[in-house]
C-alpha cells in the first residue's frame, strides 16, 4: 500500500469514533433508500409477474342481472380480448367459535376450465369439479387465519339457505391481493374470506341461471379503457349496471399501487434529507480534522505533493467514511426491508413475495452517498489544500472572538464565565451551529412523525367509530326493505335502538368528470350515523341539495352553489341535477349525502332502507349474532367491537415497526450530530479546557462548558425540530390524502413531548460519551503540544 493510503487508514482509525458516527448517519439514509426502493422493486415486480401470469383483468363491472347472451355483445366491443362473466354474491358465514357473523364473498368460476381473466393461483388442493355444487376454493388468508384444512366445511347462508361449503382447494387471486370487506378500514382475514364456486351452482343458489351479475374484461395491449368502459356502460345500462371501473380504480390494485407510490416517494425524499445532514456533519468534522492536519499538509507540499494529490487524499477520507456508511446501510436496509416485506405479507396475498435488493438500488445508494460525501468534503478540502505551504507551516491564527450580540449587560450578569464561553463559541461559528441545530431538529422531526402518525390513527378511529358511526352493529339487507324490517330488528335480543339507513348507488357527474359512489340518506337528526369532518365536528345537513366530501368536490371540480348530475343506478334509475349545498372535509372515501326524505322522493319510494344501524346491549351480543346469521334478508352484519379490535391489531403491528425504525434513525442522527459537535469542540478547545483545569477548575466545571454548548444547541433545536416535524407531518398527510382515506393532522402534546425526550436522551448519551474523553484529558501533554 502506498504510504499516503496507509496514512489515510491510520488517520481514519484515529478518528474512528467520529468516522463511525458520520458513517452511521450515512448508513441511516442508505438504509432507508435501500429499504424503501428494494421493497418497491420487490413488490412491483412480484405484482406485475402475478398479474401477467394470472391474466389480471383491465375493466371490471357489476350490475343487477344480465342474460348470458349479453356476453357476446360485450365481447364484440372493439379492443376487448377476453370476457369472463361471473356471479358474485355476498354471504354470511356461520363459523363455529365466532359470536358475530363472519362474511364471505362468493365468486363464480367455471368448473371445466380456468378463467380467461383473473385466473386463480392454486396453492393447495385441486380445482372444483362439475356436479359437486358445494365444492369451493377458499382464499388463503381466510384459511390460514382460521386454521382450516382441505376438506373442512364452512357453513354459509346462500340466499337464505344454509349450505355447507367444502374446501377442496386454497387459492389466491390477483383481484384480491388486498382482500378487504367493502367499507372497512383494514383487512380482517378471520372474519372475511373469498370463495370461488362453480358458476352453475352459484347461479342456481341466487336464482341467476342463464345470467350473470359481474364481468371482467381483458383488453388488447395498448387499448384505451375509457372507450371500452363507455361502451360497456351503455350495454349494461338496462341490466342495472353500476358503472364500469378500470383496473386503476379496482380496490385491491389501487391499494397496492398507492403503497408503491408511497414507497417510491419516501424512498427518495427521506434519504436525501439524511444525506444532507450527513454532508453537513462531514463538513464540520472534516474542516476540523484538516485544521489539525495543517502541519502535515505543509510537509506534504514541501515534499513536492501537488494540490491534486493532497486534495484527493483528503477527499478519500470522506469517500471512505461514505463507503463505510453504504456497506452498513445496505445491510441495515436489507434487514429492515425483510421486516417490511413480512408486514406486507400479512396485508397482501401474493403467491410468493420475497425481498431482494436490486443491484441498481445499491449502485444508486453508492452514487448518492458519494455525491453527499464530496459535497460535504469539498469546502473543507479546498480550504486546506489552497493554503500556501509556508502559511500552512505556521499554526492557525488564534480564533477571533467577540462579544456576541446576545450579551446585553442584563444577560451578561447572569451568564457567568462558563456561560459566556459557551455563548461566544456558538456565535463564533454561526453556520456550524446552524448545521448542528438543523441536524438535531431533523432528528426531532423524524421521531415526532412516528408519534404523530400513531396519534393520527387513533384520531382516525375516534372520528370514525365514535363521532361518525355511533352504532354497535351495522346490518345490511340483500334488498331494500320497508318499515317492517325495522320492527323485526327491534325485536331481536339485545337490540336497544334501530336507525334505518338508505344508500343508493349512483354516478355523480360534473362535465366530463364522474365518479361512482353511494348517496347516503341522512335523517334530520341522525342518532348513529352522523356526518363529521376530519376533526370530528358534526356537519348539519341542509334540507335540500347534496353535501359532498371535499375530496369528491375537488375531483369533480365543483364548489357549493354549483350543480352536479346524479344518475341513480338502481330502482327506476332516475337522473337529476342537484345543487351542491355543502362540503365536508371527511376522512374516508368519496361520499355524497342527501336529506333522507329528499332521497326517498327522488327514488319515488316509501320509507325503505337497505341497511340498519343498531344500538345493542353488549351482554346479549352473542344471542343477537346467532339470530342475525340465519336471517334470510340479511346480507351481512358488522360488529363495531370486532372491527375495532382487528383494526387495533393491524395498526399495533404496523406502527410498532415503523415507530421503532423511526426511533433508531432519529437516535442515529441525534447521536451523530451531537457527538460530532462535541468532538470538534473538544478538539478545538482541549488546550483551553486544560488551561482551565491547570488554573484550578474542576472536571465538572469544564465539562459544563462543553456540555453547555451541546445543551444550548439542543435547546434551540427542539422547537425548530417541532416545527420541522409539524411541516413534515403535514406534507406526509398531504401525500397520503387519497380518494380512499385521509388522515387528520393532529399533533398532540404527548407526541411532541415524547420526541423531545427521545432527543434529549440521545444528546445526554452522546454528551456522556464525550465527557469520558474530557475526564481523561492529559493536562501536560495537551499544553505541550504545538498546534
Amino acid at each position: 500500500m502506498r504510504p499516503l493510503n496507509r496514512k489515510l487508514v491510520r488517520d481514519l482509525l484515529a478518528m474512528k469514533g467520529q468516522a463511525f458516527a458520520i458513517a452511521m448517519v450515512v448508513a441511516a439514509g442508505v438504509a432507508m433508500f435501500v429499504m424503501y426502493l428494494s421493497t418497491f422493486d420487490s413488490l412491483y415486480r412480484t405484482r406485475d409477474a402475478y398479474y401477467e401470469r394470472q391474466r389480471f383483468g383491465d375493466v371490471f363491472a357489476s350490475f343487477k342481472r344480465a342474460p348470458l347472451r349479453v356476453a357476446d355483445a360485450i365481447a364484440a366491443i372493439p379492443n376487448v380480448s377476453a370476457v369472463e362473466t361471473r356471479v358474485v354474491a355476498n354471504v354470511t358465514l356461520d363459523l363455529p367459535g365466532f359470536d358475530e357473523p363472519a362474511s364471505g364473498r362468493l365468486v363464480s368460476v367455471p368448473a371445466h376450465r380456468r378463467p380467461l381473466v383473473n385466473d386463480l393461483f392454486l396453492r393447495r388442493g385441486r380445482w372444483i369439479e362439475r356436479g359437486r355444487p358445494d365444492e369451493v376454493l377458499a382464499s388463503e388468508g381466510f384459511v390460514l387465519a382460521n386454521g382450516l384444512e382441505l376438506g373442512d366445511r364452512v357453513p354459509a347462508v346462500l340466499n337464505g339457505r344454509l349450505r355447507r361449503l367444502t374446501i377442496v382447494g386454497v387459492a389466491l387471486s390477483p383481484e384480491f391481493i388486498y382482500n378487504i370487506r367493502p367499507g372497512e378500514l383494514v383487512p380482517d382475514d378471520r372474519r372475511f374470506g373469498t370463495f370461488w364456486m362453480d358458476e352453475q351452482a352459484l347461479a342456481a343458489a341466487f336464482d341467476m341461471e342463464g345470467g350473470f351479475n359481474d364481468v371482467v374484461l381483458g383488453l388488447a395491449p395498448g387499448a384505451s379503457a375509457d372507450e371500452v368502459m363507455a361502451r360497456l356502460d351503455r350495454i349494461l345500462e338496462p341490466y342495472g349496471g353500476l358503472g364500469a371501473i378500470p383496473r386503476a380504480l379496482q380496490l385491491s390494485h389501487w391499494t397496492v399501487q398507492n403503497e408503491l407510490s408511497q414507497l417510491q416517494t419516501f424512498g427518495v425524499l427521506l434519504p436525501v434529507i439524511f444525506m444532507m445532514v450527513a454532508a453537513f456533519i462531514l463538513n464540520v468534522a472534516l474542516t476540523r480534522a484538516l485544521a489539525l492536519q495543517r502541519p502535515q499538509i505543509a510537509s506534504l507540499k514541501a515534499l513536492g505533493y501537488d494540490n491534486r494529490a493532497i486534495g484527493w487524499h483528503y477527499l478519500k477520507w470522506a469517500l471512505a467514511i461514505g463507503l463505510g456508511g453504504v456497506v452498513i446501510g445496505v445491510v441495515l436496509g436489507a434487514m429492515m426491508g425483510t421486516l417490511i416485506i413480512g408486514l406486507y405479507n400479512s396485508f397482501f396475498r401474493f403467491p410468493t413475495l420475497l425481498f431482494s435488493v436490486p443491484f441498481g438500488v445499491v449502485v444508486g445508494a453508492t452514487a448518492m452517498t458519494m455525491v453527499a460525501a464530496v459535497a460535504g468534503a469539498y469546502t473543507a478540502v479546498r480550504r486546506a489544500v489552497r493554503l500556501p505551504p509556508a502559511e500552512a507551516m505556521r499554526p492557525e491564527v488564534p480564533a477571533r472572538y467577540r462579544r456576541s450580540l446576545f450579551e446585553t449587560p442584563l444577560v451578561s450578569r447572569h451568564l457567568g464565565t462558563a456561560g459566556r464561553m459557551v455563548l461566544r463559541n456558538v456565535v463564533r461559528h454561526p453556520l456550524r451551529a446552524a448545521a448542528s441545530v438543523f441536524g438535531i431538529a431533523f432528528a426531532v422531526a423524524i421521531l415526532m412523525i412516528g408519534f404523530v402518525f400513531n396519534d393520527a390513527i387513533d384520531r382516525l378511529m375516534l372520528t370514525q367509530f365514535w363521532d361518525a358511526e355511533r352504532q354497535d352493529v351495522t346490518v345490511t339487507f340483500i334488498e331494500p326493505r320497508g318499515e317492517s324490517a325495522r320492527y323485526a330488528l327491534a325485536r331481536l335480543p339485545g337490540v336497544v335502538a334501530v336507525e334505518p339507513q338508505r344508500t343508493v348507488a349512483a354516478r355523480i357527474r360534473s362535465g366530463y368528470r364522474e365518479r361512482y359512489l353511494s348517496i347516503t340518506g341522512v335523517p334530520p337528526t341522525p342518532r348513529f350515523r352522523r356526518i363529521v369532518d376530519r376533526d370530528g365536528r358534526e356537519i348539519r345537513l341542509p334540507p335540500s341539495g347534496v353535501v359532498l366530501s371535499l375530496t369528491l368536490a375537488n375531483v369533480l371540480g365543483v364548489v357549493p352553489g354549483d350543480e352536479v348530475s346524479l344518475d341513480v343506478l338502481e330502482g327506476q334509475r332516475p337522473t337529476r341535477r342537484v345543487l351542491v349545498t355543502g362540503l365536508v372535509d371527511d376522512i374516508m372515501g368519496l361520499s355524497a349525502y342527501m336529506d333522507l326524505a329528499a332521497l326517498h322522493q327522488m327514488m319515488r319510494e316509501g320509507e325503505v332502507a337497505n341497511s340498519a344501524l343498531l344500538l345493542i346491549d353488549a351482554a346479549q351480543e352473542g344471542e343477537l349474532a346467532a339470530e342475525l346469521k340465519v336471517l334470510p334478508a340479511v346480507a351481512g352484519a358488522g360488529f363495531k367491537r370486532a372491527v375495532i379490535q382487528s383494526f387495533r391489531e393491524v395498526m399495533a403491528a404496523n406502527m410498532s415497526v415503523s415507530i421503532l425504525i423511526n426511533l433508531i434513525f432519529a437516535a442515529i442522527i441525534a447521536f451523530g450530530v451531537v457527538y460530532n459537535a462535541a468532538r470538534v469542540s473538544l478538539s478545538e478547545r482541549s488546550r483551553e479546557l486544560a488551561s482551565l483545569r491547570v488554573l484550578g477548575f474542576t472536571r465538572a466545571e469544564i465539562s459544563l462548558i462543553l456540555m453547555g454548548e451541546l445543551a444550548l444547541l439542543t435547546l434551540v433545536a427542539l422547537p425548530v425540530g417541532g416545527l420541522f416535524g409539524y411541516a413534515l407531518s403535514a406534507a406526509i398527510v398531504g401525500m397520503i390524502d387519497s380518494e380512499v382515506y385521509r388522515f387528520p393532522l393532529y399533533v398532540s402534546r404527548q407526541a411532541v413531548a415524547l420526541a423531545f425526550l427521545g432527543i434529549i436522551a440521545a444528546t445526554v448519551f452522546s454528551g456522556l460519551v464525550v465527557r469520558r474523553q474530557l475526564d481523561r484529558l492529559d493536562l501536560v501533554a495537551v499544553l505541550k503540544i504545538r498546534e
Binding site: R2, P3, L4, R6, K7, R10, D11, A14, P295, Q296, A298, S299, L300, K301, A302, L303, G304, Y305, D306, N307, A309, P388, P389, A390, M393, R786
Partner: protein, 235 residues
C-alpha cells in the same frame, strides 16, 4: 570558482498582518554555490525562514528574483513550484513535521514514491543511522531520531539542495550534534548543497560559508576554509 546553484537578486518580502506591514526581507542579494554547506545566522524575525521558504519554493517574494541554475523560480506558477520542490529540494523543519500516522520508513517512502530516481528508503535511514528503527512511529522516537528521519526523508529523493530550518532548535546539545553529524555526512558523501538556518552561532563553525541576517537584510558574509566537525563545536 564553484558553480552558482542559486542567484538571488534584490529579494523583498512584505507581509500584511492585519493593518501592519512587516518587511521580512529587504533588498537581499546572494549567491549560493553548488555542494556547499551554508549556515544562515540571525535572531528571530531576521527573515531567515522567509528566505529559506522562498528558496525552497514554499513562498513567493514580493519583489526581486531567485534563479535556480537557469530557471527563474520567481516566475514559476504553483504547479511549477510544486514540480521544483518535488524534484530538487529537500526540507528539514524545526518540528520535524513527520506524518504521525506513518512509520519512519513510510515517512521516507512518502517521498520516494513521487521521486524520479530515489534512494531506497532503508538506505536513506541507514545513512542517518536509523536503519534499526525504521518501523517505529514518530511518537515512539526521540526528538533527535525524529529529526534524523526528517533528514532521511529529505535526502531520499537525492535533492540538489537540502534546506534546514532550525534543525536542532527543538533538541538538546547531544541530540543536536547527532543530527548535525547526519547533515554533515549527507553534505560530504552525497555532495548535496545544504542550507541550515539557525540562531545558534556555534553551528556556523561547521559551514563553508556563514551568512548573517538581521532585520531582513544580509549584514555579513563569511567564507570559511577550516570546517569543524559537529563534535568539535563549542555551544
Amino acid at each position: 570558482m564553484a558553480e552558482a546553484l542559486f542567484t538571488i537578486t534584490d529579494l523583498g518580502k512584505v507581509y500584511h498582518m492585519g493593518e501592519v506591514e512587516v518587511h521580512a526581507l529587504r533588498q537581499v542579494n546572494l549567491q549560493l554555490d553548488e555542494g556547499k554547506f551554508v549556515v544562515l545566522l540571525g535572531p528571530s524575525g531576521s527573515g531567515k525562514s522567509t528566505l529559506l521558504n522562498i528558496i525552497g519554493g514554499l513562498d513567493v517574494p514580493t519583489s526581486g528574483e531567485v534563479k535556480y541554475r537557469d530557471t527563474v523560480l520567481t516566475r514559476a506558477d504553483e504547479a511549477g513550484l510544486t514540480a521544483y520542490r518535488r524534484q530538487h529540494v529537500g526540507f528539514v523543519f524545526q518540528f520535524y513535521n513527520l506524518i504521525p500516522s506513518l512509520t519512519a520508513v513510510e515517512n521516507v517512502a512518502l517521498v520516494t514514491d513521487i521521486s524520479e530516481r530515489p534512494m531506497n528508503p532503508g538506505d536513506a535511514l541507514r545513512m542517518v543511522q536509523l536503519g534499526e528503527r525504521q518501523d517505529h512511529f514518530p511518537a515512539q522516537l526521540s526528538g533527535g531520531e525524529q529529526q534524523r528521519v526528517a533528514i532521511a526523508r529529505a535526502i531520499a529523493k537525492r535533492p540538489s539542495v537540502l534546506l534546514c530550518d532550525e534543525p536542532t532548535g527543538a533538541l538538546d546539545i547531544s541530540t543536536g550534534i547527532v543530527v548535525l553529524e547526519a547533515l554533515a555526512r549527507v553534505n560530504s558523501e552525497l555532495g548535496t548543497t545544504t542550507v541550515v538556518i539557525t540562531h545558534n552561532a556555534a553551528i556556523g563553525s561547521m559551514a563553508d560559508r556563514i551568512i548573517r541576517l538581521a532585520d531582513g537584510r544580509v549584514t555579513a558574509v563569511e567564507e570559511r576554509t577550516e570546517k569543524l566537525s559537529p563534535r568539535e563545536l563549542v555551544w
